[in-house]
């Protein structure tokens, strides 16, 4: 007998590990990125690669400086870079993803202690930083679409995402007494066209950030993750459901709001970020509901046309509280 292994039970383990989780999530995100390359052109690929390389480099340098074990192979930095890129407009200069990833990994993650200890979604921290620092780069969507713009009247508006158009038209309609009748009629027409553009929104023939345009591909990716138990249904369903219910109550088209903007990307891939979302059954439902409420509030009354990232960041901060107050009742208790 040469060697005896001694360890605490259990002696067998599920073969899923952190790396496999990260790699699976990354793989399911690739179709949405491929679609963006098709839609906006090859610069999308360079932006994405820059974001990933910058994220991995930052992680490596941080861990070297902080004298921690280097864990760039676990895939979490790659995922952060990828998600950050997916939250950028398709025509930003390459230094934007580079700086964004640096901030995401360094300030969003490593200074808190690395993977597992960050309170907020690192990719969204990176995006919020870019948004605050270079708002023009982050909100101008000039990239021409392969099949032209889906909705007429959009060309005249700065920031050509469907949600930006929606917000603009909504303002016009709210203040219609101050405007000429033609303007109002035109706004009403545009709104109607927006609301009728489901298929384009669903497939992704619209302007927007790199990763958010195709609701269909994100949905398919989400289904794959659900099937393999990488994510659970609670947050995405509660999130998207809340947005649809609230927009209905507010008299708008729920389907338009569900499919447009970053909702699918956010609900399926970012609100479900394990580290920064609750672990309890009720906690996850409430987290999704909270994200939904904040998203609608920002979209309707906030300063931005889009509210997904900030609502997730805000809800990230309540995650510890949600976990604390939604503890499951012990079996038999």
């Amino acid at each position: 007998m040469n060697q005896r292994f001694i360890s605490a039970s259990p002696h067998i383990h599920d073969n899923l590990n952190i790396q496999k989780i990260m790699v699976t999530v990354i793989i399911t995100l690739i179709p949405a990125g491929a679609w963006a390359i098709y839609l906006f052109g090859l610069q999308v690929l360079w932006i994405t690669l820059t974001a990933i390389v910058s994220a991995v480099l930052t992680e490596f340098v941080c861990q070297k400086i902080m004298k921690r074990p280097v864990s760039i192979l676990d895939g979490s930095a790659v995922l952060t870079g990828l998600l950050l890129a997916y939250n950028l407009p398709p025509d930003v200069p390459l230094w934007i993803p580079a700086v964004g990833s640096l901030v995401a990994v360094f300030i969003g993650k490593q200074i808190f202690g690395g993977l597992g200890f960050n309170p907020m979604n690192p990719a969204l921290i990176g995006r919020a930083f870019l948004m605050a620092s270079w708002p023009v780069h982050m909100t101008v969507f000039d990239a021409p679409l392969r099949n032209n713009m889906p909705v007429s009247g959009i060309d005249s508006v700065t920031g050509a995402t469907p949600l930006a158009v929606f917000k603009h038209m909504r303002e016009i309609l709210i203040h219609k007494s101050d405007l000429l009748p033609e303007q109002v009629t035109q706004a009403q027409q545009t709104m109607a066209e927006l609301n009728g553009a489901y298929m384009k929104l669903f497939i992704g023939q619209v302007g927007g950030c790199i990763g958010e345009v195709s609701a269909l591909l994100l949905f398919l990716g989400g289904c794959y993750l659900l099937y393999h138990h990488i994510i659970s249904w609670k947050i995405p369903v509660a999130y998207i459901g809340t947005v649809m219910i609230l927009t209905t109550i507010l008299g708008e088209n729920p389907l338009f709001h569900a499919l447009s903007g970053g909702l699918f990307l956010g609900a399926i891939y970012m609100a479900t970020d394990m580290v920064t979302s609750p672990v309890t059954f009720r906690g996850r439902l409430l987290f999704g509901v909270g994200c939904g409420i904040l998203t609608v509030v920002i979209r309707f009354w906030g300063g931005y046309p889009e509210g997904v990232s900030y609502s997730i960041l805000l809800m990230n901060l309540v995650t510890p509280l949600l976990d604390k107050y939604t503890r499951p009742k012990v079996f038999g208790g």
Partner: protein, 459 residues
């Protein structure tokens, strides 16, 4: 707003709860690995040259030693007597001379006072069994319980709680159901499975005795669906009795956990911190039922049991009938020895079993299996940080938050760990099994329990 939200969530819970029906919530699905031994007929293990019999093989007060070094004993002779109610004696499992009474390694860990008997090769019985079984129906209930205690019977599923104590609930807690546990949800182990196939009638006779003792109105035999042959056989043999039903259960670990089995069989929940008798039932292992029958009908004390010797580290895995006190290495040699030089020897199954430093430890009353893993299965990976994936929370059959409890224990915050239900953990290991960061969650929790005991003792 808050009230509405809570009400809505309660509704969701309610719907989810009613859909779940038979199964408990949570649980994991490890590969069952029963193919090594499930079709192998139980073999009598040749008697070893010596046996090591620890005086403490049960939960409760230690029993008092009756013998001295140098004495000759016969098979089945009591070696100790119980001095308290929650205690059972041990018996000589072979005939021979007592070579030593000293501390020896115990399979449960640490050293324990043990009686070592050298085999004289005769296997002479102290109280030879009658040729025909004694008619148990005429024996008084208190007498039955006394016989069960005197035979040294403690739960044979692993926890080893004295059986006669379980059969003596206070008068204000009537028992209406006995659940016979034939679930055997630990991967690799097949001892109970084989027993149900080969000793069906005896197990059922034991069940009748148990039912008579507590005046149970019915009995349910819970068996996991991966033992279809045992389910069929039990169903066939119990067809005549209306009081006994066989319940096929979904294959899910830890389906054989006492509280989880009761939930599945009766849809009753054992109150947190309570006992099955609080809700009118008791659970007994199938091997215990057999031991009860043999003790009562043949005056045979608990000196042998079925042990599955299995795993990729064993040349020829087998199910053995082995005498209590047989050293592990004797059984392993009888199974063709190790397949490799680097092994992990486990007392019990892979989910809850304890690794042994030495194969010199003996089989005790709670040894359902000896599992030997080779390097390919022995998981020695490092812990990574928790990524809050919630898998442990989802699978916990006790609905605890293993991630939180473990991290409280890690930081020596025992009070908070207790507030999060530390003491309710059944140590099934599902959380550690599922953790993608390979954190040793259940280990922290067990450590926390030990710290808690130490803290309570010192204050």
């Amino acid at each position: 707003m808050n009230i509405i939200a809570t009400a809505l969530l309660d509704l969701v819970d309610l719907i989810a709860g009613s859909v779940r029906s038979r199964a408990f919530s949570g649980g994991v699905h490890p590969e069952d690995c029963k193919h090594y031994t499930e079709h192998k007929i139980i073999e009598q293990c040749p008697l070893p040259d010596y046996v090591i019999i620890p005086l403490q093989q049960h939960i409760g007060a230690p029993s008092e030693c009756l013998v001295e070094k140098g004495m000759s004993v016969k098979t089945g002779q009591p070696l100790s007597k119980s001095t308290q109610f929650v205690s059972v004696p041990v018996h000589a499992s072979i005939s021979g001379r007592i070579a030593a009474i000293e501390k020896r390694p115990h399979p449960g860990g640490n050293q324990s006072l043990s009686i070592v008997i050298e085999n004289d090769g005769k296997d002479e019985w102290f109280d030879p069994a009658p040729d025909t079984p004694i008619d148990t129906d005429n024996i008084d209930i208190d007498d039955l319980k006394q016989r069960i205690q005197d035979a040294g019977i403690a739960g044979m599923g692993g926890a080893s709680f004295p059986t006669h104590v379980k059969l003596s609930p206070p008068s204000d807690k009537p028992i209406d159901v006995i659940i016979l546990n034939g679930v055997e949800c630990e991967p690799y182990l097949t001892a109970d499975h084989r027993l149900m196939l080969e000793k069906t009638d005896e197990i059922l006779k034991g069940l009748h005795i148990l039912m008579r003792i507590v005046r149970a109105k019915k009995a349910i035999i819970g068996i996991e669906k991966n033992k279809a042959d045992a389910i069929q056989l039990m169903q066939k043999k119990t067809k005549r009795w209306k009081k006994i039903s066989v319940l096929p259960l979904p294959v899910k670990y830890p389906q054989g956990g006492e509280k989880q089995l009761i939930r599945a069989a009766l849809k009753r929940q054992v109150p947190a911190g309570g006992l099955p008798m609080d809700i009118g039932c008791i659970v007994q292992n199938v091997a215990t039922a057999l031991a009860v029958y043999e003790a009562v009908a043949f005056r045979k004390p608990l000196i042998e049991r079925i042990v599955t010797v299995t795993g990729p580290g064993i040349t020829e895995p087998k199910n053995f009938r082995a005498r209590i006190g047989t050293p592990f290495h004797h059984l392993i040699t009888a199974s063709g020895g190790y397949t490799t030089s680097d092994v992990k020897i486990i007392h019990g199954g892979p989910m809850m079993g304890i690794t042994e430093l030495s194969d010199q430890v003996p089989v005790i009353k709670g040894t359902s299996g000896i599992l030997v893993l080779d390097q390919s299965v022995s998981d020695l990976s490092r812990e990574q940080p928790c990524i809050s994936c919630a898998r442990c929370v989802d699978v916990c059959p006790m609905k605890l938050m293993p991630n939180r409890i473990a991290s409280f224990v890690e930081h020596d915050r025992i009070d908070e760990a207790v507030a999060y239900g530390l003491s309710h953990c059944i140590e099934c290991g599902s959380c550690s099994y599922i953790c993608p960061a390979k954190r040793h969650l259940v280990h922290y929790i067990k450590h926390g329990k030990a710290l808690l005991v130490r803290k309570r003792n010192s204050s």
